[in-house]
C-alpha cells in the first residue's frame, strides 16, 4: 500500500492519532511526575470507584425490578448500597471539582478535561434526580409532584414528564448512565493523554517570572 492511500483512510488516521496521543505506556504508566503526591488526587479515583459501585448495585436493582427494592429486605439493602454510593459519589466529585478549580487544572490545553468533568457533574445531577423519582416511596411521589412545575414552567415538561414513572425509570437506568459513562471515559482518557497538570509555579524559572 502506498503512503498516500494510507493517509486517506479513516482507520489509519484513527490508529495514528491514538498511537500518538494515547500509547499504552501513557494509558498505564509505572510512574507519575513527582508533584503527583497529594491527597487531592485521591478524589478523582474515589469518584470513579463510587461510580463503579453505583453501576454495579444499579444493575442488581434493575434485574429485580421496581417493586423489589421497597418490597423486600434484601431489595432494600441493595437499595441502600446504591443510595450511599451516590451520596459518596457526589461528596467525592464536589471535592474533586473544587480541588481542580484551585489547582487551575485546565492549564496547558486541558480545557476539555474541565469541560467533560463539568458535564459529568451536571449530568450526574440529572441522573440522581431521576433516581430519586424512581425510589417508589413517598419522597418520589412528592418530588415528582413538585418538580413538574419547574420543568413545565419553561416548557421542558412538554416532553420530559417527571410524573411519568416509566419514562423516568428508562432515562435513569438506560439513557443517562450511558451518557455519564461515556463522558467519564473521555474525561479519564483525556487526563491520561495529557498527563497530570504541573503545579502553577513549576515553570517560573523558564518563564522568568517572580514567584
Amino acid at each position: 500500500m502506498s503512503t498516500s492511500t494510507e493517509k486517506e483512510m479513516w482507520v489509519t488516521k484513527l490508529r495514528k492519532g491514538w498511537q500518538k496521543n494515547l500509547p499504552v505506556e501513557k494509558l498505564l504508566p509505572d510512574t507519575q511526575p513527582a508533584y503527583v503526591a497529594s491527597w487531592i488526587y485521591l478524589f478523582g479515583v474515589a469518584t470513579l470507584a463510587s461510580l463503579g459501585l453505583i453501576i454495579a448495585t444499579g444493575l442488581w436493582l434493575s434485574f429485580e425490578g421496581a417493586s423489589w427494592y421497597h418490597g423486600s429486605n434484601v431489595g432494600h439493602f441493595v437499595n441502600s448500597l446504591h443510595f450511599w454510593s451516590v451520596q459518596f459519589f457526589f461528596v467525592f466529585m464536589v471535592v474533586h471539582l473544587w480541588g481542580k478549580f484551585w489547582m487551575a487544572a485546565w492549564r496547558g490545553r486541558r480545557m476539555l478535561t474541565w469541560i467533560t468533568g463539568a458535564l459529568a457533574f451536571v449530568g450526574s445531577i440529572a441522573t440522581a434526580f431521576t433516581g430519586y423519582l424512581v425510589q417508589s416511596n413517598f419522597d418520589s411521589q412528592w418530588i415528582s409532584y413538585e418538580a413538574k412545575d419547574g420543568f413545565n414552567s419553561v416548557g421542558i415538561g412538554s416532553r420530559f414528564t417527571v410524573t411519568n414513572f416509566g419514562q423516568m425509570l428508562l432515562l435513569h437506568v438506560a439513557f443517562l448512565p450511558v451518557i455519564i459513562g461515556i463522558i467519564t471515559l473521555i474525561h479519564v482518557l483525556l487526563v491520561r493523554a495529557k498527563g497530570v497538570v504541573p503545579p502553577i509555579d513549576a515553570f517560573n524559572k523558564e518563564l522568568g517570572e517572580r514567584k
Binding site: 439493602f77 441502600s80 440522581a128 417508589s136 416511596n137 419522597d139 413545565n152 419553561v154 503545579p199
Partner: protein, 318 residues
Amino acid sequence: MSDRRAELESAPWGGRTRRYDLIKEGVVAVVIVAIVVAALSTLFGSPDEKQVTFKEWATAAPADFYATSVQELAGSSGTGGYGAPYNKASDGVNLGPLYLAKLLGVTHPVDTVNDFVITPLTTVSNAAPVADALKTWQASDAKTQSTWATNYDNALTKVNQDQAKVPAGNYGPVPELAAGLLTMAQAGSLDGALLSQGNYFQTDNTKQTLFLGDGSYFNDKSTASNLQGSTWGMMNETGRYPGQAWLWLYSFWYQIPPFNNGDSHPFGANADAWIMVIMGALSLGLIIMPLIPIVNKLPYKIKIHRLVWKNYYQEENL
C-alpha cells in the same frame, strides 16, 4: 497566559518522577468505598417512607378527599386551572412576554372531570344511588354539569368542607358521584383505575400524582416532613436521610426575594421559570469556567494550590 506557558504546561513532563500504581490505587479505592458504603447501609438503611395511596388518603381524610373530588368535577382544583401541558385553563407561568409552556401546547392532556372521576367510576359496579347519578351526569350537557359541580363546590367550601352542613341546592348528581368515588377509593380500587384509564400496559403516573397533589392530605404530609420548596424541601429527604444536597444552590433561590414574594408578585408567581433560567446559566458558566475572566484568575490569587503541592514546593524551593 502566554503561549510559552501553555506549551510548557502541556508538554510531557520532563522533571522528577515517582513510582505510582494507578491500578492498585483504583482497586483499593473500590474496596474501601464499598466497605464504607456497606457499613452505612447496614447502620442507617435508606429512605423508606411508604407511598401514599388513594385508599390511605380516602380513609385517613375522607372530607378532604370528598371535597377534592368535587373540585375535580368543577374544574376548580390546582390541576383543573393549571394550563399547559395539561389543559388550556390558564396561560401558565411566564418569563416576561414568553409563555414557554403555553407555546409548546397541551402535550399531556388531563381532563379532571372524566380522567379523575367519571371514567374511574365507570370501571366498577356501583351501588344504586351512584349508578343512577352516573347516568344522570352522562345524560346532561356540559353546561349543566358545570353549573351543578360549581354550585356544590362553592357550597362545600362555605361550610369548610363539612358535607353534613351543606344547605339544599341545585347540585344535580354531584354529591352522589363524589360519595361514590370516596367509596371506591376507600375500597382501594381507585389507584389502579386512575393509572390504567381502561388500558392494560401503563407506566405513566401523571394523573394519580396530579389528583393526589390537588388535596391537602398529601401536601400536609410533605410539610410535616419538611419537604416544601419554601423550606429547602428540594434537597431534603424523608426521615433523617441526606437528600439531593447538591441542589442547594437551586433550592437557595426559592428562599430569597423576589422569588419568595408570593404569587401576587411577578417574580414570585413565576419563580419556577426564572430560577430554571438562572440555574441553566450558572451550569453553563461552570462548564466554560476556565474562560470566565476574574473567576479563572482566582486560583492564582488565592494560593490554595500551595497547600495541594506543599511537598513539591518545599522540595523545589518554589
